[in-house]
Symmetry: C2
Subunit: 520 residues, 2 copies
């Protein structure tokens, strides 16, 4: 470490202490900003030094993508596109329209919507003009859009990337830039009909992907609130106790209980009562049992929530959902804005991954989540007009990671192009002939490519076809061209025959169409 760097690091420490002191003393924003600016300038100095140390003269930067992000290579893109296509097919089957919103919003749009998670929002630099932040999810932009466009009902899907300055865990599919696939139904409708359709949508999507068994957990914010009320949790602690319950998917009850008592200030008997409830899950029979529970029956919130849950379960049954769903009292969901039903889908059996006979378990968390949020649009409407909403979001990054690992283990290689015909030359001097033929193919709508070299070796060209899984190759040669024919090679079988040079696009279209129908 250079002496200079050491000196700056010490200055940073001193300046950092000063900023913390000013903040603790609640000094004016201006005063703090001035000292923060000094601190940032010092940090920039160190960063510059580090960059220089890494590269040397010509190469001052680290060649990497930003922390928590990745490039998608063509194999990954092919997989991703396949998954997204399946998801969009389900969304469209349910009659959803699509919308799109900007990647950033005015910061104030996001403020006060995410509770503690707000610290994970990416802000843009103030370069004059508006103060902007990258979107954190697609739900808040939807609510802003509905209020701004004065739309009171819509069924829309939105597939786009969102941004969270979270701790990345990239092998498990947790990134700072990641896709969300959202389906939401906005409008004033009758009880649980749209809510049940969201469950159906999740089930169709997860059932259609090769990711093994899953269960969609269901709960209701009013049941949770009623339960807290019945157990004697003070009303102002509902949300923070809800956050504690939310950790039950990762931590054992004993740990969550300790958090409730030590950090959230509940007394032990209250925590124990909560513990008895949240360890229950089941179906209609559990709802009916809880409806008989004298403590819950005293809570208006619990009574309403249970009644709604009963309706939801009944509709789910009509929609053909039974084993895939479970009413689970431990499901809480982190976000503040939910007001009714909440959902979360998890994989139950890890997909079998055979890598030379071994089974490698892949751990992924929840793969879908959502719920009802009836008050979010009203937060944006100038007159506070509400538009009730319910929706689900598919956690595709986790699904991508899982399928990627699975394909790698099984040695599956997906094609990354759709090329149907490769135009090759058998010897030198034929590149203009190739261009003529391939022009006819392209103009005839055939997916075709050729070498960008004037005189490529035949073997190299044929190898390319086999590696890329291109089904047909046309091989041009002077002798054949003089006879008015070209050689057509079926790449997988290596069978060759001569076909007429004339109307070549038509002939190939005919053959490709037969091959697509499996008649070739």
């Amino acid at each position: 470490m250079s002496d200079n760097r050491q000196k700056i690091l010490e200055e940073i420490k001193v300046q950092g202490d000063l900023v913390r002191k000013l903040k603790a003393a609640k000094e004016s924003k201006e005063k703090i900003d001035v000292e923060v600016a000094k601190l940032l300038a010092l940090k920039a100095k160190v960063a510059e030094e580090e960059d220089e140390a890494v590269g040397g003269a010509g190469q001052k930067f680290l060649l990497k993508t930003p922390k928590g992000t990745r490039d998608y290579n063509p194999q990954q893109m092919a997989l991703r596109q396949g998954v997204l296509d399946k998801i969009v097919t389900v969304f469209k089957k349910h009659g959803a329209e699509s919308i799109d919103t900007p990647v950033f919003e005015r910061k104030e749009v996001l403020t006060g919507k995410y509770g503690e998670d707000a610290k994970l929002i990416y802000d843009l630099k103030d370069q004059g003009g508006e103060i902007l932040s990258l979107r954190y999810d697609l739900t808040v932009p939807l609510a802003r859009y509905l209020a701004m466009s004065k739309i009171s009902s819509i069924k829309r899907y939105h597939i786009a990337k969102v941004y969270r300055r979270d701790n990345p865990a990239m092998t498990r599919g947790r990134y700072r830039e990641f896709y969300q696939c959202d389906f939401d139904i906005a409008g004033t409708y009758d009880l649980m009909i749209p809510d049940a359709e969201c469950v159906k949508v999740v089930s169709e999507i997860l059932g259609g992907l090769d990711i093994g068994d899953y269960v969609i957990k269901l709960n209701h914010r009013m049941i949770l609130d009623g339960m807290f009320e019945a157990c004697g949790v003070p009303a102002d602690k509902f949300r923070s106790i809800c956050s504690a319950v939310d950790k039950l998917d990762k931590s054992p009850w004993e740990e969550v209980k300790r958090e409730m008592i030590d950090e959230k200030g509940l007394d032990e008997s209250t925590a124990d009562q909560i513990g008895e409830y949240v360890q229950q899950s089941g179906g209609l029979e559990l709802v009916e049992k809880l409806q008989q529970d004298p403590k819950l029956s005293a809570s208006k919130s619990a009574v309403t929530g249970l009644q709604q849950m009963k309706t939801l379960l009944k509709y789910c049954e009509v929609l053909g959902l039974r084993n895939e769903i479970r009413f689970d009292l431990s499901l809480a969901r982190g976000l503040d804005y939910y007001t009714g039903v909440i959902y979360e889908a998890v994989l139950t059996a890890m997909p079998e991954v055979t890598n030379g006979g071994d089974v490698e378990p892949i751990t992924v968390g929840s793969v879908a989540g959502g719920g009802r949020y009836d008050n979010l649009v009203g937060m944006f409407d100038p007159k506070g007009k509400q538009v009730p909403c319910v929706g689900v979001s598919i956690g595709v990054e986790r699904i991508f990671s899982l399928l990627e690992a699975k394909q790698a283990a099984e040695g599956i290689k997906i094609r990354t192009t759709d090329v149907e015909v490769y135009v090759a030359s058998a010897h030198k001097g034929l590149h203009e002939q190739r261009l003529k033929v391939i022009t006819e193919l392209w103009d005839g709508g055939i997916k075709a490519e050729h070498s960008y070299k004037e005189n490529p070796k035949l073997l190299v060209q044929l190898q390319h076809c086999e590696e890329q899984g291109i089904p047909l190759a046309l091989i041009l040669g002077d002798a054949e061209l003089k006879k008015g024919v070209v050689k057509l090679r079926e790449v997988p079988t290596r069978k060759e025959e001569e076909i007429s040079r004339e109307n070549i696009a038509e002939e190939l279209s005919r053959r490709l169409s037969l091959m697509r129908n499996g008649d070739f």
Copy 2:
């Protein structure tokens, strides 16, 4: 205006003057940063006041998207998806793979690539960690990806949004967040074969969209440099004179000439010589004429460039391109990184837009552009290893704007959903029956929707079908259900018939497939 606001505005003025003075005096970055921080804090105060003034108690924010951005509503999305699908079809026809990169890059990746335009880059706020900027185009991220992944050849397309803090002109399709559709061929290949394919790709795309006639202008950086050399422009002024020439599509020659003389310091006779060249455009005959030009023949750069242009025009002819292309000496392109051929496509005839008989001209600028950039990847490779690249970018936002305006004028309404069957109830009490029927349809892969109300009015349901262009409606009624049938209504003709309730999904699939084939 409040007294307080007035006072702060005065403080801002004083502080702004101070910052400018420090910058002019080239004071240390730290010292300037401190004063800039004070300035920003003052500005934030005014912004807060303004927000409060706009909204009032409950509503502190402006309900809008950030400057230069827009939401896409379902109609716009349907149009956009249609255009993008056509573009992707062409990219795939040419065998391109796709990749994706993060929306932001480490700032240093973008530094020094865009010349003067770098001031338009969006930076992210320093929240600790890396210093990031939003991508400005898809070309620099591609070069970074190729160097980082050590890829020496790829043919890839990338469709994604890029960000520029430019002056928006939204009616003409110029936004701060906008789509680029890029097709690039990277690799060491033979002269002009990939370059010509890029022209073919642009021509297939523009020819396949309903946007009227176009011309693809072609030029070569080496011809431009040779021309500057021949006219006596000092070598260090090539790029800045190139920028001036680039303005010829918007400004008359006299204006550009004045800029060359008054701002760029050329003498008048040099400018006049340039003027004679850049007003020429044509085909192969122009290349051959210029090859005879004694001044150009003395420039090695011009000789090479003209020879390459000749090859490109010859290949274009083989690819069936003739009237769509023009060698144009005034084409310069703004970006620094081009090293060879440059392209730009412009619409020549404005599409006819009849709005009650009127023709409304829509002005759009260039709709595609690109060129060869052989040195960009080497700027990222630790050992400076080059990967030659050539590519084009389709300016889809302008195409969207144009088609939107056209459809609006022609009164065309595109469907925003793909719903094939609507399940309606003829009277009260049938919502569970509807759920049963629609579950069968969904499970049978049919795109279907129904009302989310328990007891919707029949008329409302049928109106929804007509407005949304849904072709078929099933109407459930107790009388029919008892007989084991349901009513099937052809929405456009309002013809109704009874079909069996049993195997209803199969029967509807059969009919829908006939309808798709036009046999219904």
